[in-house]
């Protein structure tokens, strides 16, 4: 009986620490993708400004409330606009950003195909 209790505590303590570690990783990932709006070229993760410190607390709170990563991004997008995200979604303002590399890749591929492969 004592032994089983010990095993249970052992397992539980490990599972809790892994939950915390998961949350910690998630928090780091999220704060790395949030722009510190009052700093220059820094993410919230990198910054120690008052703004970034508060934002990290809010991310922790939202994670504890059970919000998913995307829901947290959405929350900050509503509060501060798309600019706060380092990884912008595809919309009417960002479609060139997303489609241009693809377009250049396709055209470049076509040129290579035409001039080298077809020539052979």
């Amino acid at each position: 009986m004592k032994f089983s209790r010990f095993v249970l505590i052992f397992i539980l303590s490990f599972s809790f620490s892994s939950v915390n570690a998961d949350e910690y990783d998630k928090r780091n990932k999220i704060t790395k993708n949030l722009r510190c709006l009052i700093c220059q070229g820094q993410s919230v993760y990198d910054s120690d400004s008052e703004f970034a410190i508060s934002l990290k607390i809010v991310v922790d709170q939202k994670l504890q409330e059970g919000l998913s990563e995307d829901q947290i991004y959405e929350y900050f997008k509503i509060k501060y606009g798309e600019w706060i995200l380092y990884d912008p979604g595809l919309n009417k303002n960002t479609y060139i950003l997303w489609l241009l590399p693809l377009l250049i890749f396709l055209i470049g591929g076509a040129i290579i195909y035409k001039s080298f492969i077809v020539r052979k």
Binding site: I38, E50, K79, G81, L100, I104, I107, I111, V118
Partner: protein, 172 residues
């Protein structure tokens, strides 16, 4: 024909790239947040500044009244500069000024008000800065003009005479 496709597509690609970079040159490099936003004010629980009692945000804001929410702190130098303007706004009594004390030492904040005067109808506390995030604020000082539980306008940075005149126009 084959020989023509290559230079032609190269020109098109460079044309597109030139166009995008040229457009990018015209854009302002400084991030300017949107200040004319019609957003509902957030709901939150907080503490009253003087009594330390728990209060709900809905207690502060009534419909059909104009409010100016001012985020301030005793350690913030620009807050000191804008304080006389808040005092003058309060004199007219047309706008209810609500204070949000941001990440402050309460003793210092009280001394700040004793020294410069208290223009606020109500003050609540934001100890860890999370309420300011809830409001979509960037730091101190910052002010929000509120009507019917909606943010009409946001003033980032200290208020000055020009902005006070603008607020007075809104109130009329």
């Amino acid at each position: 024909m084959k020989n023509k496709i290559l230079p032609f597509s190269v020109i098109i690609i460079f044309g597109i790239i030139f166009f995008i970079f040229y457009k990018g040159l015209e854009d302002s490099k400084i991030y300017t947040p949107d200040v004319n936003i019609k957003k509902e004010i957030p709901l939150f629980n907080t503490k009253e500044f003087f009594s330390g009692e728990n209060v709900k945000s809905s207690n502060f804001f009534d419909l059909d009244k104009i409010y100016l929410l001012n985020i301030w702190s005793s350690w913030c130098v620009p807050c000191r500069q804008e304080h006389p303007f808040l005092m003058s706004l309060n004199l007219d009594n047309k706008v209810n000024i609500i204070g949000m004390n941001y990440k402050d030492n309460l003793k210092n904040a009280e001394n700040f008000l004793k020294e410069l005067g208290n223009p606020y109808k109500e003050i609540f506390i934001d100890l860890d800065g999370t309420l300011a995030i809830e409001w979509g604020a960037y730091g101190v000082p910052e002010s929000f003009l509120i009507y019917n539980n909606e943010i009409i306008k946001k003033y980032i940075g200290p208020l000055n005479q020009q902005l006070v005149d603008e607020i007075n126009l809104f109130i009329k």
